[in-house]
């Protein structure tokens, strides 16, 4: 019987070996990306140097959606095949996704200030990312709202799937809402024309962030498995003392 559940130990060993393979390339790619982004790419003819914020803002936006998608998929796997590790992967990914979303919003606002003169713009994409941020917070809050972690992870898994179905609906509604209330003065953030020399840092940072996510996900999953083991052991000791 335990065989079927042996894989936490096996996965744990796998994670330990895989982590460096994610961490080092991530570090190298991000450092290289930073070099290209800051030193080796031309300023935008319109926006000047502020376009350099794009090299962190856009990859963060990609990651915000990518991590939420991975959470929805692993939640579905966890619920359908009742696989505890899938739930752990979603639980481990949530804070990372939330950080990427927060960074995306922050850099978006820092980019908006010099370009449009205000810290926050109710632009369709920024607003959708803001709502995505609430979906992340909702997931994490629900996850921790139960005494039994098993209950928490399953409720949060259902929420992740519902949230994932709603992301396109919210995006559509916000886009539509934004065009309806389009204040004439704000230039629609269509994004600068991507010059090839700008693509390199953008790509590097994107892949670097993804590998960073991979490494951190494995690390956080190992921590969660240890925490579950600690909980199991303390419950077992409790039971043994009760039995004696």
């Amino acid at each position: 019987m335990i065989q079927q559940y042996a894989n936490p130990a096996r996965f744990n060993r796998l994670a330990t070996t895989l982590m460096p393979w994610f961490a080092w390339p991530a570090g190298i790619l991000i450092v290289a990306g930073l070099y290209f982004a800051l030193f080796n790419s031309p300023p935008d003819y319109q926006q000047g140097d502020t376009v350099r914020i794009m090299y962190v803002h856009v990859p963060a936006a990609w990651m915000a959606l990518f991590v939420y998608t991975s959470m929805a998929i692993s939640s579905a796997v966890g619920l359908i095949w009742k696989h505890p590790l899938a739930h752990l992967s979603a639980q481990a990914a949530a804070p990372i996704g939330a950080c990427f979303t927060f960074v995306c919003l922050l850099t978006g606002s820092l980019w908006g200030k010099p370009m449009w003169g205000t810290w926050w713009v109710w632009d369709a994409r920024l607003t959708s990312v803001l709502i995505l941020f609430f979906l992340y917070l909702g997931f994490m809050a629900l996850q921790n709202a139960f005494d039994d972690p098993r209950r928490g992870e399953r409720s949060a898994a259902i929420l992740a799937i519902i949230g994932f179905i709603n992301v396109p609906i919210i995006k559509f509604s916000v886009d539509w809402w934004n065009t309806l209330h389009q204040p004439a003065s704000v230039v629609k953030m269509s994004g600068p024309a991507i010059h090839s020399s700008m693509l390199i840092p953008l790509f590097m940072m994107g892949v670097g962030f993804t590998l960073y996510f991979g490494a951190l996900l494995l690390l956080r999953m190992k921590t969660l498995m240890l925490a579950r083991r600690a909980r199991g052991m303390s419950m077992a000791q409790l039971h043994q003392q009760a039995a004696e």
Binding site: A145, R154, I158, I169, F172, S173
Partner: protein, 221 residues
């Protein structure tokens, strides 16, 4: 169908015995809506401009208050267990609960909304749209809120948590609800908004019972 009506009948009977619970929700809606003029000033055409948004947002927040009591009493006294083990599938129980919530909370809010709109001097053209959008929107809110109630069942601070989970999912309904009223006031076509809201309602009617049943099943595990 009889199981659905039986459960619905039970819910209505229970709600009528504690009618004050739904009355409080409507009172909160009225109070919250009345507060805005004190904040932004009584200037008529600004209030008229704000009316659709204020009525819809306060109705939405009032509905949030009532979801925590939807499953918790049954969960605590064991009725939910018996309902889950009854002949009717849990999806049926979910629909009955959402319908009961709409009848005891959604409907009263829908009736109170035009009265609040009068306080805000909403232009006459807006009333028809207000009632239609509430008629399409409040059931969707009830359905999505029932999922939230099932998800937060047995959790600490269920009520506040439920709002955090459910409100982002209801934003599309809010957007098109208020947009429909604004369009009606300025004489534009309202059809597309109402059709979209109808779409949300049908989507919710089909999908949310599945989610609620799944949430209840794992809550009872």
């Amino acid at each position: 169908m009889s199981a659905l009506t039986l459960i619905l009948h039970r819910e209505i009977r229970l709600a009528l015995r504690q009618i004050s619970d739904s009355a409080i929700i409507v009172l909160f809606f009225v109070l919250a809506a009345v507060l805005f003029p004190f904040g932004v000033g009584p200037e008529p055409n600004m209030l008229a401009r704000m009316a659709p948004g204020v009525v819809w947002v306060t109705a939405l927040l009032a509905a949030m208050l009532s979801f925590e009591r939807l499953f918790t009493p049954d969960y605590e006294d064991g009725s939910l267990e018996q309902l889950a083990l009854g002949p009717a599938p849990l999806e049926m129980v979910a629909i009955a609960k959402a319908a009961a919530h709409w009848l005891t909370t959604g409907l009263p809010l829908m009736i109170a909304a035009p009265l609040i709109a009068v306080l805000y001097r909403l232009p006459d053209a807006g009333y028809g749209a207000l009632i239609t959008t509430m008629a399409l929107g409040t059931p969707t809110i009830s359905l999505i809120g029932t999922v939230g109630a099932a998800l937060t069942l047995g959790s600490r601070r269920g009520g506040v948590l439920l709002s955090l989970l459910v409100i982002p999912l209801i934003i599309p309904v809010l957007i098109f609800g208020t947009a429909a009223i604004d369009a009606a006031i300025s004489g534009f076509a309202v059809g597309q908004h109402l059709m979209l809201m109808g779409g949300f309602l049908l989507g919710a009617l089909v999908l949310t019972p599945l989610a609620t049943a799944a949430a209840l099943r794992q809550a009872l595990e």
